[in-house]
Symmetry: C2
Subunit: 234 residues, 2 copies
DNA sequence: ACTTGCAAATTGTATATACAAGTTAACATT
DNA sequence: AATGTTAACTTGTATATACAATTTGCAAGT
C-alpha cells in the first residue's frame, strides 16, 4: 500500500466532484458509509472528509452531513513579495541606496495612516531599490517611532526595511493597494524615468499586534517591474 | 470543558511562539511530551500539532520532530477578484457591453498563450465592464474554442465571461501579471480616457484540468480602478 | 392538524493501541 | 579513526471504541 487509504478516498471524492458526478451542495456519503464502502475504519474515512473540508472542497455540519462546497475560483490569490528576495531569486544583483532617513512629527494624513496622534514622532525613510545598478523601485516609508524606536539607526544597505520591521515587530496584518499612476517630479528624478512613464504603485500598511507599524509607498516604473502570481486550486 | 483540549494545546503553543518564548526553527515538544504534559492521549496532542502545521505555524518531519516555522511575512497574499462581484458588493451598479465576439484562427502569439497550434480555432471576446454606466475595465479575452465550444453563443450581459468559464471548465490553475502601461489608441477610445492616462493591466491565464482555457487582458484606467488586498497572518 | 418527544443518523471530541518509517546518537567493530 | 549496527525517539497511518452534540424524520399523543 504505497498511497495511504485516506488519500485514495480523497481522490475518489475529488474525482466524483470534478467529473460533475457529484454537484454543488450535493450530499456526499457519511463517514460510516465511506468506511464500509472502502473497508476502512470510520476515523480513516473521517480524515479524508476532514482534509477535503480544510481544503475548501467540502462543507460539513454536525448532525446533517457533508456536502460539496459551492463554487470557488471567483477569486485568485496573489503574492506580494519582498523586492530584494524577488531580485536575488531571479538571479540579479540587488542593492539599495538610502536617499533620506529622518525624524518628523506626524501631520494629519500621516497620523491617520499610522493611527497615531498629530505631533507624534514618525520616521520617514526614502530608499531606492536597484536591480543590477538600475533603479527599479522607490520606497517611501512612514514608521511609527514609538513601536520601532531603533528603526532610525539601521543601515538599509545591509538589511531591507521590510526585513528589519519583520524581525522587530512581527507582522500580524497587512493591507495593499495597487494602482497605476503618473509619477511626480521627485520620483521621476530618483527613478531616472521619463515624465510620461506610467508607474505601478503599491501602498502597503502593516500591523503587528501592538498596532500599525508602518505605511509604505512603493513606486516602480511600469516597464521595468510587474507583479506576478500563480495560483493552484484544488 | 467548553473549549476542546486540542484547541487549548494549540493556543498554548501559539502563545509561546508569539511571545518569542519559542523562536524560529526551534524544536517544539514531541507528541508524547505534549500528551503527558497536558494529560491527553497522543492523538489529541498530535491533532494540535497537525492543525498548526496545516496553518503554516509549524513544520514537521518524520523522525526528527516538529519545529516552529521560519518567518512568514516576507510575502503577503492578494486576492484577484471577479470585477462584477467587486462592483456589486461595493454597492454600485454593474453592467457589461459586448464590443465584439468573433472566431479566429490562432496566430503565433495566441498559439503560445493558449498552448495550442497555429491555425486552431480561438474565440476572441472584447467586453467593456461598467460601474454606474462608466467604463471601468476593458476585457480582451482569448478562449480555446476546443475546450469551451459554446463560449461563442453566450450573452455576456447576463453572465460574465469569467463566471461562465468557471462553470464550464472549473479552474485548476491561474497565473497573473500586473503592470502599469500606457493604453493604445483602441483602448483609449473604448475606455474614454485621455492619451496620457496610465492604466493598470492584469494579464490572466487560466487552466482547467484539460489545459489552458483562456488568456485575458484586463485594462483599467489608473484613476478609476485599483486592486486592494487584506492579509492576516497567524 | 399540530405539537411534542423520541430515535436514528451524523459529525465532533477523545482515548488506547499497534505498527510503519525516518532520524539521530550512542556504541561496537574493524 | 572510520565505519557499521543498533536502539531510542519521532512522526505517519490505521483501527476500534466511546460518548457528546446537533439535526432530522417519524411516531405518538393531544
Amino acid at each position: 500500500m504505497t498511497t495511504p487509504k485516506f488519500t485514495k478516498i480523497k481522490e475518489f471524492i475529488f474525482a466524483q466532484i470534478e467529473s460533475g458526478n457529484w454537484s454543488e451542495d450535493q450530499r456526499v456519503p457519511s463517514e460510516n458509509e465511506l468506511a464500509s464502502q472502502f473497508s476502512v475504519s470510520r476515523m480513516t474515512a473521517r480524515r479524508a472528509l476532514q482534509e477535503l473540508t480544510d481544503e475548501g472542497v467540502l462543507n460539513r455540519s454536525k448532525g446533517s452531513g457533508t456536502f460539496v462546497a459551492s463554487f470557488k475560483s471567483q477569486s485568485a490569490l496573489m503574492e506580494i513579495r519582498n523586492i530584494a528576495d524577488e531580485i536575488t531569486e531571479a538571479g540579479h544583483k540587488y542593492s539599495a541606496q538610502t536617499i533620506s532617513l529622518e525624524t518628523v512629527t506626524a501631520d494629519a494624513q500621516t497620523a491617520i495612516d499610522l493611527n497615531i496622534t498629530i505631533g507624534d514622532s514618525v520616521y520617514i525613510s526614502t530608499i531606492l531599490h536597484m536591480q543590477d545598478d538600475e533603479a527599479i523601485q522607490l520606497e517611501q516609508r512612514y514608521v511609527n517611532a514609538a513601536l520601532v524606536p531603533k528603526y532610525i539607526e539601521q543601515d538599509f544597505s545591509l538589511i531591507t526595511s521590510h526585513e528589519y520591521l519583520s524581525k522587530e515587530a512581527p507582522l500580524t496584518e497587512a493591507t495593499h493597494q495597487i494602482e497605476a499612476v503618473i509619477a511626480n517630479a521627485n520620483i521621476i528624478t530618483l527613478l531616472a524615468i521619463k515624465a510620461e512613464q506610467p508607474c505601478l504603485q503599491v501602498k502597503r500598511r502593516t500591523w503587528s499586534r501592538t498596532g500599525v507599524v508602518s505605511f509604505a509607498i512603493l513606486t516602480s516604473p511600469g516597464n521595468k517591474y510587474r507583479l506576478g502570481g500563480h495560483s493552484i486550486f484544488n
